[in-house]
Symmetry: C2
Subunit: 487 residues, 2 copies
């Protein structure tokens, strides 16, 4: 089993006084982060936290999140990263499923966390991050990280709609960071701007690059186009991770050319439309399109800006040292033949908590795609019917199960419909019982209480039946046709 020196110790040893994080004008060095994280770890140990404990964090992009994550690694505990946009009910499900012992939360979300805890029989303790015990004495902390040890859990959901905790080892995160460096290169001048949430793997992976590369990051607690542009233009930011809607907004709020020192934008969340690529090119923004998921610890396939126009719509090629294949009828597909995308590599999670580990060598992603003659990947359906709304993954089955809790609703199906600002938004199709007098507004209000706002259907359509295939399985991609018929 491979172990490496604790990455924060290592960076503190190599460059103690180098800037690690910039946040709201504050500059924090690697030594600062180590000090704070080790004190927090010591405090946690003093308060009874043990190696292997599952500790949830419910917080936005703030330094306490960073200190907490490293404290967890110094203890050898596991960090369960919660989405702050989830409803109390959703949080409760994850707390129970993940066997969470304590929840650490920022002031802003303390009520939500408490509400979630009260739903559960076995209630985890809720601890405000600001009141965390801070110990002077640094206890016996991990000096090495074993690459096979589980470090984080983040929730995702397959087509079943039941959220599952993806387990990431230290190795998954380390190899992901290194793969990205082998792909994008690594310069001592690099500074990466983080405006994606740290509780998702896209943002979290930048926290890992921060300590694996020893690279400074600029941390924003939310996306703000003028502010991001200002950091690129005036604060030597060389790289930024975005979803498509953010790139659109950046371009809208900026007239000047981007500086040549800006190495580019790494884009997740589906292919970038050609006009946007054109616009980015004219503004001097190299765009790296990518494909990845929580299970791959961030991007695993990337398209270089050189190929962006030549391979329009492609996600690129599998990073070194990852592998990719497309399978149909139990065999490899021919070029341009659609099949399921399978991936493999040391950055791929070995499985979900409470589930059997992946049986196969490759992870079947559930996504459909094809490879062209030159081996470039084109993703056809991103997680079959998954909706991507403003960069957030929305799983129809999850919304459907909430709808089906409504007595009057006999059947429900959800699909994504195009939306100018968010890319896609969820739209619900429901079959109600004959005697029912339920209104769209009542359904909407019910959803609002149970779901994060971005998951609440934007439109609700009453239909007489749902499209089903021969095996009586719902065919979500045919839902949009019902919409057309209705018009």
């Amino acid at each position: 089993m491979i172990e490496i020196p604790h990455w924060l110790d290592k960076q503190t040893d190599l460059q103690p006084n180098a800037t690690a994080i910039e946040l709201e004008g504050r500059v924090v060095t690697f030594n600062d982060i180590k000090e704070k994280s080790q004190r927090m770890a010591s405090g946690l140990i003093n308060s009874g936290v043990k190696k292997g404990d599952h500790l949830a964090i419910l917080a936005g992009n703030r330094l306490d999140f960073v200190y907490f994550i490293h404290a967890v690694s110094y203890i050898g505990a596991v960090a369960v990263c919660l989405n702050i946009r989830l409803s109390p009910r959703e949080i409760a499900y994850q707390l129970e499923d993940a066997d969470v012992k304590h929840v650490y939360t920022e002031q802003e979300h303390i009520n939500k966390a408490s509400e979630a805890a009260h739903i559960l029989k076995k209630q985890p303790s809720i601890i405000p991050l600001g009141t965390l015990p801070d110990s002077e004495k640094v206890m016996d902390l991990n000096q090495f990280l074993k690459l096979d040890d589980v470090f984080t859990m983040m929730y995702t959901s397959g087509t079943t709609g039941k959220p599952k905790a993806v387990m990431h080892t230290y190795g998954n995160h380390w190899f992901s960071a290194v793969s990205s460096a082998l792909n994008l290169g690594l310069s001592t001048n690099d500074k990466w701007l983080v405006c994606l949430p740290l509780f998702h793997v896209g943002g979290f992976s930048l926290l890992m690059k921060n300590v694996v590369y020893g690279m400074p990051i600029v941390l924003l607690n939310r996306f703000d186009a003028p502010l991001v542009n200002d950091h690129i233009m005036n604060n030597n930011v060389t790289l930024v991770s975005l979803v498509t809607v953010m790139l659109q907004r950046l371009l809208k709020s900026q007239d000047e050319l981007y500086p040549s020192t800006f190495r580019g934008a790494l884009l997740g969340g589906g292919p970038v439309p050609e006009p946007l690529l054109q616009e980015a090119g004219q503004a001097n923004i190299p765009v790296f399109q990518s494909y990845g998921m929580t299970e791959t610890s961030s991007q695993i396939v990337t398209l270089s800006p050189n190929d962006a126009f030549r391979k329009l719509g492609s996600a690129g090629k599998a990073l070194s040292p990852a592998s990719l294949r497309v399978i149909a009828n139990d065999g490899l597909t021919s070029p341009n033949e659609i099949g399921e995308i399978h991936v493999k590599g040391p950055m791929v999670s070995s499985g979900y908590y409470q589930h059997e580990p992946h049986a196969e060598d490759y992870l079947a992603t559930g996504d459909l795609g094809y490879l062209d003659e030159e081996g470039f990947l084109f993703v056809v359906d991103r997680v079959k019917d998954m909706i991507i709304s403003g960069g957030e993954n929305v799983y129809p089955a999850e919304i459907e199960s909430v709808l089906q809790e409504i007595k009057d609703i006999e059947e429900a199906a959800v699909t994504g419909i195009n939306h100018e600002e968010w890319g896609e938004v969820p739209s619900a199709f429901v079959v109600v019982s004959d005697q029912s007098s339920i209104t769209k507004e009542e359904i909407y209000n019910f959803c609002q209480k149970r779901l994060a706002s971005y998951k609440v259907p934007r439109t609700i359509n009453f239909v007489s039946e749902l499209p089903r295939n021969a095996a009586n399985k719902l065919v979500r991609r045919n839902l949009a046709q019902l919409l057309d018929e209705e018009d």
Copy 2:
């Protein structure tokens, strides 16, 4: 067990037509190398070579060496890299010790290889590289490399003087390459010049960077100062690996400033004297001093050019993800206290062929050194009494054992003496029997027949007794005093 796609397949997939190697004006792409190596692998399999076989290579820096190395990895065999400067007797020892089945050699060294084979009872076959079977049909070749599998063996020798084969896994080489990238950065403009022999780990590691990074290398079959300078000045070489004597020669043969695109020289083989550092600085050459050995798959400690003058004489800090500690009296030393250097990391070999694996977590290097208050390593004695002559490691005990074969010699000891051109050269001190009339010339001639020329003592001194400590152990560092007394 982690496995990664075969690195040459990966680069061929990512950038088939990119330049991989430049050699004597020829340009070879990754696709060319893959084609040639896979054909060679197929030919070897057709000729009976099997997975796990030990195959020796006796060749200088040429494309056949490169194809052979990759062919070995496609088969899953083990490459035993022989130093072309060894005597037939020395080669014979290594062939036998390493259980070599076949020796692949360039025309130039075929007689030496045959002579070596004839010494042995169980003779390996000698196969000229030029006549290697070349198969059209590509057999079932490795598509993945398991990081724990042994890939290469290279000979080194501890203080005992008995050469031992350091086993390197794919993982050792991969992590070494990645560690170097995390330290030096990695640019798409990088091009590394290789003038160190590929059969040593310093040169070999650049062959690994070539396929792990997908970075072009310029391969020279020997060091030639004007040629190296020409590549730096006119062929966009950004990095070069050197030993100190080579840096001296580069500076001597060049008057112009080096271009700012030249990122620097990675230097092995002991600390660089201040005047040379000054000269390099004036010529605009950033110098990365380093410490490493065959067992660490190349440098494991590096000093950045920023610290070169501030930390004169230091080898720097342990690369991420490696660790370093200095041990004396079974405990960690205080700052500035000398002890034995211990290293750990996924690039450190797990042991020697035919020997027990390292029992400890850390590898005891046998080198003495100390860490200063800031944690910078200073190496005091490089492998206790080892002599570094023109970048070659010379082990006194090995020469002593040859000297002791001479009947008239009762005792022999060897140490390094300073030499303007080679840094150090071996010098012998012998105690001969009372009745002996043996001459220095006779001793010299005997050594010449048995040892590579760089190991033959440059001076031979008759002394009445050797310096020994209380435990009657030879104290080689006191030999130089005898020289002074003699003068």
